[in-house]
Point group: C2
């Protein structure tokens, strides 16, 4: 076990200085504090509360994801995580991570400085500064939908993408669709790439051709959806699989605006099954991610990582929810 | 919740007959007992002890795998599973599954009849009769190294294969090997196929050509190893990656017998890191599976499945253990 004395010795400073740095005291310089924190992380120092398993706390770090109200994607994930944490006597703090914070603080030293034993990170993209740090982090970390290789401190959790896309494509094929577009979402996200791979495999498994012109990335606010729908329809797409329900809802709105009927002219499938999915017009056929289960499992996994069990990946089963936005393909 | 009365009503028999069948009483016919058990499984009936969470028991079902002594592959898996089960007040029974049992009993009704809430299944191959039943089983089941699609009651656990093969191939490439053979093990096993896929991806990632003549399946008792080594050496293989340590140990023995030095003439890498790996001559470089962690996690996952959390897949990190069986490639 690494002690404060070990850290002090290796930096050739006093134990009281190390203690000040770890407890965020004001009477040492910012540079020295940072040097102590980095050495503590490097040596694998863990706080007393982490070791004694009392008053331990975990961070839920959130970027690019809404979670405040029941309709938001992150809400049920947080709910599940908090419930599981309560059952195991962990405290949880939720932190909205800004780009400024990521630029000014290293991920590991941020957690150590604030007394977190580990973190569950939601919504980080490949462009966020902390994402590269996850590859070498020494802090127990669970990432939603974002795989990191070869780091025993970091696990990924998510919904099985292969099965998800198989459900979507099988459903469309049963409805005689053959020309299927895929609206991927954010290009710089690991989960978009994984779902695209899974989409291509599922299409091939059904003997369907993947048309590159029908695979489109974007944030999918309404104007962007407009620009992407045109090429898909030019290629006679009769169905559009979307990487999340918000994209799918925008696609439905935009189809209506330009005179295409859903599902008579075009079928639309979402992903996630957030509350929005059941109140679109028509309600959305979608791949359900059980977000409460994801949150609960993330807590279990984080707790195992804190006990040095090197989990790499945990995936849960998706579920196809059939509603009104899919129907038999039109005769072209 | 499904009751004995529900089962009785749906079969149009008395509740006492259902009770007799579920409790394995002798005064009803085998056919009727089986019909009751199958209906109970179909309706999702769970035993009272499962529901009340007292005196619950789980089965560890073992096929084709040694586990009795510390040197056996299954020993630490069982140890981890038992320890985790004890911490959560589950009872565990270990069952050696025979082919006869699988032919004469259905998997689900076997578990229900013997009062098991779920099972951890080790060593089943694609040819074992129960393997197809895992696809439709309604009983919480964790499979080691054997993935089943689209069944929310069944999860797979294992070691991350992609990373494992990356470690092996990266290590060999650093030692200037380019012509690398792969001895896969049992062809009818899911994990052999997954590791082969991972081997091919890792070779490609390093810009190396996969030679089909150097990829060989088999049980790898000594005579078979002999037959497989010849074609690998004909193709100038300088390194052999093996799907488990027992194959690797046989490869080393056979190399010595036919006058090839390990590691001077040929490098050998194993998989698993069972105790044998450190006592071969030379000791074996291998990919460690942390089998105790796998056992502990299997228990956690089974417990989540019993609570209806539909986990599909859990993978743990491998670790490259460098010993004496790998060295710089010979000049050819």
């Amino acid at each position: 076990m690494v002690t404060i004395k070990n850290i002090a010795d290796s930096l050739n400073i006093s134990t009281s200085t190390v203690s000040k740095a770890l407890n965020d005291a004001t009477d040492i310089s910012a540079e020295l504090r940072q040097a102590v924190l980095e050495k503590a992380v490097e040596m694998g120092y863990t706080t007393k509360s982490s070791r004694k398993k009392i008053n331990r706390k975990l961070a839920v770090l959130i970027k690019n994801m809404a979670y405040g109200t029941q309709k938001d994607f992150g809400y049920n994930i947080l709910l599940g995580f908090r419930q599981a944490a309560m059952n195991r006597d962990w405290n949880v703090e939720v932190v909205d991570v800004t780009r400024d914070l990521m630029v000014n603080e290293k991920y590991d030293t941020y957690l150590l400085k604030h007394g977190f034993s580990g973190a569950f990170c939601l919504g980080f993209t490949l462009r966020d500064p902390w994402t590269t740090q996850f590859q070498t982090s020494q802090m127990p970390t669970v990432l939603l939908d974002n795989f990191v290789s070869e780091n025993p401190h970091v696990a990924c959790i998510g919904t099985e993408n292969t099965e998800s896309m198989e459900y979507a494509i099988q459903h469309l094929v049963m409805l005689h669709h053959r020309r299927i577009a895929f609206f991927c979402g954010e290009a710089h996200s690991r989960v978009s790439q994984d779902r695209l791979d899974a989409f291509e495999r599922a299409m091939e498994a059904q003997g369907l051709k993947v048309h590159n012109e029908m695979i489109l990335f974007g944030d999918y606010l309404t104007p962007e959806v407009r620009n992407h729908l045109a090429p898909a329809f030019e290629k006679n797409a009769t169905a559009i699989v979307c990487a999340n329900d918000i994209i799918a809802a925008n696609v439905i709105d935009e189809c209506v605006r330009c005179g295409r009927r859903v599902p008579e002219d075009v079928s639309v499938i979402g992903f996630d099954d957030i509350p929005l999915a059941s109140i679109t017009e028509p309600p959305l056929t979608t791949i359900r991610q059980n977000r409460k289960n994801i949150g609960m499992l993330a807590m279990t996994v984080l707790s195992e990582l804190c006990d040095h069990v090197p989990i790499a990946l945990v995936q849960i089963r998706p579920q196809l929810i059939i509603r009104g936005s899919t129907a038999k393909a039109p005769e072209l």
